[in-house]
């Protein structure tokens, strides 16, 4: 187990290296740079700036600096947002995205597992058909269509919730973005839970549990869910990557100051330090999260050995 974890932690480093190098290479390959935007700078000013950020040094010197920055977890200053370091921006934007993502995912887990389990326990009942029909719809409606529609209904017609505002976690402003983001996860998790539970409910150990006289409730809650939720756990790994794409869209739809919004703007502005910083940060988050998911298998399913 420990060897497995160490091997997986060690492999994170070369993977991070690949992602960062790819990104950096793309930025370098692209014609022009941050200063070739619409506002032309005086040659002397541009010269000073280029000296300051080391843009005229040979590429390997700059590349080394990028890697060194990441090793120290200090990404330097943003080009666009003057006087702010990338770390400050990350610290400011991360709580927004994390709150949004976490709320949405926890909500999706709660709703998805409940409805999925109900659907499995009452297979072929109207609950089952309704749940799976809605789940299909949740997968088919893109979040950038769903978000504006929800905003139109709940914010602009009924005036229950604010359309675009961020007040931090326990506030009305979280509801619409989180709901939009969670729709597709509710759908996936409900489907996964249903199929997982259907399979488990037919297995031998459930029959044993019933045979020793446990109540149906105990059979489901204590025995079946544990095995039936394995597909949901393994979905949590890719879910984080999805969640990042999702937050990018939702943050843009609701104009939230989160990581995704900063990332897209940084790409359009060609704000190199900020792009590298966000990419490195997201890569680390995804890699670490995948590792945690793999480790958690061992705790949930005692049959798995490394």
């Amino acid at each position: 187990m420990l060897r497995f974890i160490i091997r997986r932690v060690v492999i994170i480093i070369p993977m991070l290296f690949i992602v960062v190098s790819l990104t950096w290479g793309l930025i370098r390959l692209a014609p022009g740079n941050f200063y070739s935007g619409e506002k032309k700078l005086a040659p002397a000013v541009e010269k000073n700036l280029r000296d300051k950020y080391g843009l005229d040094r040979p590429w390997y010197v700059q590349y080394r600096k990028v890697l060194w920055n990441i090793a120290r977890f200090d990404f330097g200053n943003s080009l666009k947002y003057e006087g702010q370091s990338v770390n400050q921006i990350l610290l400011r934007a991360l709580p927004v995205s994390a709150t949004l993502g976490l709320t949405a995912y926890l909500f999706a887990l709660a709703v998805g597992i409940t409805t999925g389990t109900l659907a499995a326990l009452r297979q072929n009942s109207w609950i089952d058909y309704a749940t799976m029909g809605l789940a299909m719809l949740g997968i088919a409606i893109p979040n950038f269509v769903l978000g504006p529609l929800l905003a139109l209904i709940f914010a602009l017609t009924l005036f229950w919730l604010p359309p675009a505002l961020w007040d931090g976690f326990p506030s009305k402003s979280v509801v619409l973005p989180a709901l939009t983001l969670s729709a597709i996860y509710i759908a996936y998790i409900a489907r996964l839970t249903r199929s997982g539970m259907l399979e488990v409910m037919r297995s031998d150990y459930i029959r044993t549990a019933r045979a020793k006289g446990l109540s149906e409730r105990a059979v489901v809650m204590r025995h079946a869910l544990r095995g039936g939720l394995l597909p949901v756990v393994s979905f949590s790994g890719p879910a984080l990557a999805f969640l990042i794409t999702g937050t990018v869209v939702v943050e843009r739809v609701f104009a939230l100051p989160g990581l995704g919004n900063y990332f897209i703007n940084a790409c359009f502005n060609r704000d190199e330090p900020l792009i590298i910083g966000i990419v490195a940060f997201i890569a680390i988050a995804v890699l670490v999260f995948n590792l945690l998911v793999d480790i958690s298998y061992g705790f949930i399913d005692p049959r798995i050995r490394y």
Binding site: I11, M15, I18, V19, L22, T23, L26, I27, L29, A30, Q123, N124, D128, Y129, M132, G133, M136, L137, I139, A140, I141, P142, F144, V145, G147, P148, L149, A151, L152, L156, R191, L192, S195, E199, R202, R207, G237, A241, I244, T245, V248, V249, R252, V253, F263, I264, C267, F268, R270, I275, V279, I282, A283, V286, L287, N290
Partner: protein, 358 residues
């Protein structure tokens, strides 16, 4: 919408109070015998029908699969809708242009028309057939734009799926057939790529290296989307090839001196086609969604061309005043995605009972 979610896995033994008993003829709910096509009955769990009539009636693998596909109401519904939207997208824009003079980028000169009209309304507010989905902020016909956008969205999805198919099938088949250390290395590479946040890299690529021409932009989109969606395909094909490669027909081919590439592509890949088709059908909607996502962010298809994602992005801007500008493109796209998912699920049930789990 019922039989889709309730089919039992034919390999699943029936649960009886006394334990698992093999249930000789496996029957689906409609009472028809389900049997695995010979090609898929590899190794474990051969569930071919013992019903003589069914065996006599059974034609080729594909005819069987087609018949099973037609039995699923959702899949049939999906096929009808998907074909309708596709045909409408292909011929619709020119029909509309001939009937009303509106191409997708036609902006009327008349001031009374150069504004957003609600669906089925003429400028003076009366009922009119001219714009069934209304017009956008500068007066362009939304139906024409949705259909033209469909052309681009479908084209991107199809070609990118083809790209992912080419990469995934060759990669997976090679790894699976060669096996050993080469397989180890190749699959480790896939594992590594799996956990990369490639959406992020695609965004960087498209934002920083915008193509010079609209056609170049589309080509970039095909390759960017195709190049990141072949991983699962590679895994599926590898698994299939591994289970096939020890069969007699491969041995026979090798004994007669057929070259390795020829064995892989002429003997193994055709036999793994079922799961490949199923997964490709499910890849199309997911790539369509990615294209829309990128276009929505302003990174995919660019004006003056239109795609569903781009239309949704435009519509979202003016949603509070002109809701039809978002609702029609959004709903068309959702309908298409829904239908393609139904077709994919139906194909999976029809072609490959072993994959039926989810």
């Amino acid at each position: 919408m019922n039989d889709e979610f309730s089919k039992k896995d034919p390999n699943e033994p029936a649960l009886t109070p006394l334990g698992t008993l093999p249930e000789p003829p496996v029957r689906s709910r409609e009472g028809n015998t389900i049997h695995t096509a010979p090609e898929f009955a590899v190794g474990e769990g051969d569930v071919r029908s013992t019903d003589p009539i069914e065996l006599l009636a059974g034609g080729s693998l594909w005819r069987d699969a087609w018949r099973r596909l037609l039995r699923s109401k959702l899949a049939v519904f999906g096929m009808i809708v998907a074909v309708t939207i596709t045909v409408a997208s292909v011929i619709g824009p020119s029909v509309i242009k001939r009937a009303t003079g509106y191409a997708y980028d036609f902006i009327p000169k008349d001031d009374r028309l150069a504004r957003s009209l609600p669906p089925f309304r003429s400028p003076d507010g009366k009922f009119a057939w001219s714009h069934p989905m209304g017009t956008d902020t500068v007066g362009r016909d939304i139906l024409a734009r949705v259909l033209s956008g469909g052309q681009i969205s479908l084209m991107v999805a199809l070609i990118a799926t083809l790209v992912s198919l080419l990469i995934g099938v060759s990669y997976g088949a090679t790894a699976g057939y060669l096996g050993g250390r080469i397989d180890d290395v190749m699959m480790r590479v896939v594992d590594v790529l799996y956990s990369l946040p490639y959406v992020i890299i695609v965004i960087v690529l498209l934002a920083l290296l915008p193509a010079k021409t609209p056609t170049g932009q589309l080509a970039q989109l095909f390759f960017a989307l195709g190049a990141v969606s072949w991983l699962t395909m590679a895994r599926i094909v590898r698994g299939q090839v591994m289970s096939l490669k020890n069969q007699e027909f491969v041995l026979a081919a090798r004994a007669t001196g057929v070259s390795t590439p020829r064995i892989i592509f002429r003997h193994l890949v055709p036999n793994a086609l079922g799961p490949v088709i199923v997964y490709a059908t499910l890849t199309i909607p997911s790539i369509m969604l990615s294209e829309a996502f990128l276009s929505f962010l302003g990174l995919g298809v660019r004006p003056p061309r239109v795609s569903w994602g781009l239309l949704a992005a435009d519509g979202a801007q003016t949603l509070a005043i002109y809701p039809w500008q978002l609702i029609f493109p959004g709903m068309t796209m959702a309908l298409m995605l829904l239908s393609l998912n139904f077709v994919g699920d139906g194909l999976r049930d029809a072609l490959d009972p072993q994959m039926r789990r989810e």
